[in-house]
Amino acid sequence: MTEPPDDETTGLPGLRTWSQVYVAVLLTFVAWVGLLVALDRWFS
């Protein structure tokens, strides 16, 4: 079995490279944290 190259396509629409996927994951993390902070601020 030959391993595909490390830079193979991600197969995700709009996120063609793995770097873009990782940035999107980090932005999602920041969004979750922001949402949790906002939830507390809004209802406290």
Binding site: G11, V25, L26, W32, V33, D40, S44
Partner: protein, 563 residues
Amino acid sequence: MNGLDYGILVGTLLAIAVFAVWRTRGKKDLSGYLRGSGNARWLTIGLSVMATQASAVTFLSTPGQGYESGMGFVQNYFGAPLALIVVAVFFLPIYRRLKVYTAYEYLGHRFDSKTRILGAALFLLQRGLGAGITIYAPAIVLSTVMGWRLDATIICSGLVVVAYTVMGGCDAVSLTQKYQIGVIFAGMVAAFFVLLSKLPPGLTFSDALSVAGGFHKLGAVDFSLNPDRRYTIWSGVLGGMFLAMSYFGTDQSQVQRYLGGASLRESRLGLMFNAVFKIPMQAFILLLGVLIFVFYQFERPPVFFNRAAWDYQAAHGSGAPLRALDAAFQAAHADERRGLEEWIGARRSGDVAGEARAHAAAAEAQGRGQAARDGTRDILAKAGPRGSSNDADYVFISFILGYLPHGLIGLLVTAFFAAALSSKSGELNALGSTTTVDIYRHLVRREASDAHYVTMSKWFTALWGLVAIGFALFANLSENLIQAVNILGSIFYGVVLGIFLVAFFLKRIGGTAVFWSALASQALVFALYSTLSISYLWYNVIGCVACMGLSLVLQGVIGKAKA
């Protein structure tokens, strides 16, 4: 539970196990048995990774944690996304390129035999110690509440998981985990909607969140720099990142889940699935607990959720003080409920002064109720192990049994067992693989047929399963020990991660330097743990940094001595 609930429980668990064994039947070589058939897609990998990490305790205890302390525990997972990216970028391609069966096999490639055995031994020690806990922890809670025999609960659930893990290997584990996590999600979502429907008429979801926020239950992110606080954003991101990197990158129970991916892409996407959904999943489970807290502001809760422990102590010498505390708690709760109803009414009518007054009254009553709960805990703690003082694990299951309809009770109890089986099967699969590949094949019998190693792997998996069942049956574990074993994991993980980071990033360091540095760092972590009171998450950072730093120094000394 009635016949319908038992039917759902037994039918679902057995159907999943039998289906998985049937689907993965047929003769397998060692690669097929330990790594799977190599055609797993990203969703299967992602769910399998998630199911291995989320044990029954996650779903039983976490809502109780939300009930008691609010959302802050979610910070524990803040390091996971970054850690999973590091694993996907650096760890995964190397494991796949070398076609290793276990993560520790890589240490043998990179360093030497003794470092490989050290890594495998640390894993076996840590996972072996925790092996009984995964079965015991849910069994003690469920058997106490349901009135089942503890030994029968442990043996039945243990034998089911041993049977399908031994028969089906890695493929059966992944397949069962996919369906089991489906049952878990269905149960949790159903509980959420039933909980919403049980809130008092007129109390909207927004009102419920306001009540929770008014009692500081929604504080999910703590920016405090105090290192003594167990969960802050800093300990979560930094300490949690090291913990998650070690767990996802070096713990064979996780590595085995993504080594069976059809390609690097599938394995990476499986990891990224967890990087995106781990935090919201944990937040959702904590929110369930917070909503149960709100529910019990309007419904009479018990002063102590482990009713069996309370009843036992009330009948054996502590009856008078326990009943007095119960009466004080119920009086405080009635005042609190009145205060909350006035508070919500004042909020709706825009009466700011009335809102503040009613909130203060409710908070004062809540303080009195909490004091009665704390007093009850103190009495039960002094009574010894039988009177367990921690009732957080019993909050969710008490709500389920008290307020959910039959059928859904069966679904939720099935979800708890599914979680126990899914994490247990991942652990057993990994313990069997590591014992076979890193100990038996490496040290005992180097040249044998694939069929022989598959047979031995099955025996080792069964043996670890029986050890886990035996440990759970005879260890008479206290909840403190359960927590101790969890903390023990954190103490080992830092050093193991240090070994792997040296392997990946400090190319000039050899096996001897990293081996002795790892042992010295482990001793340092033990020493610090016995003297400091910092959050246990920090030991992941300390162990890792110490191992890497000492390796650099020692390699310098060895280099000079050779010169």
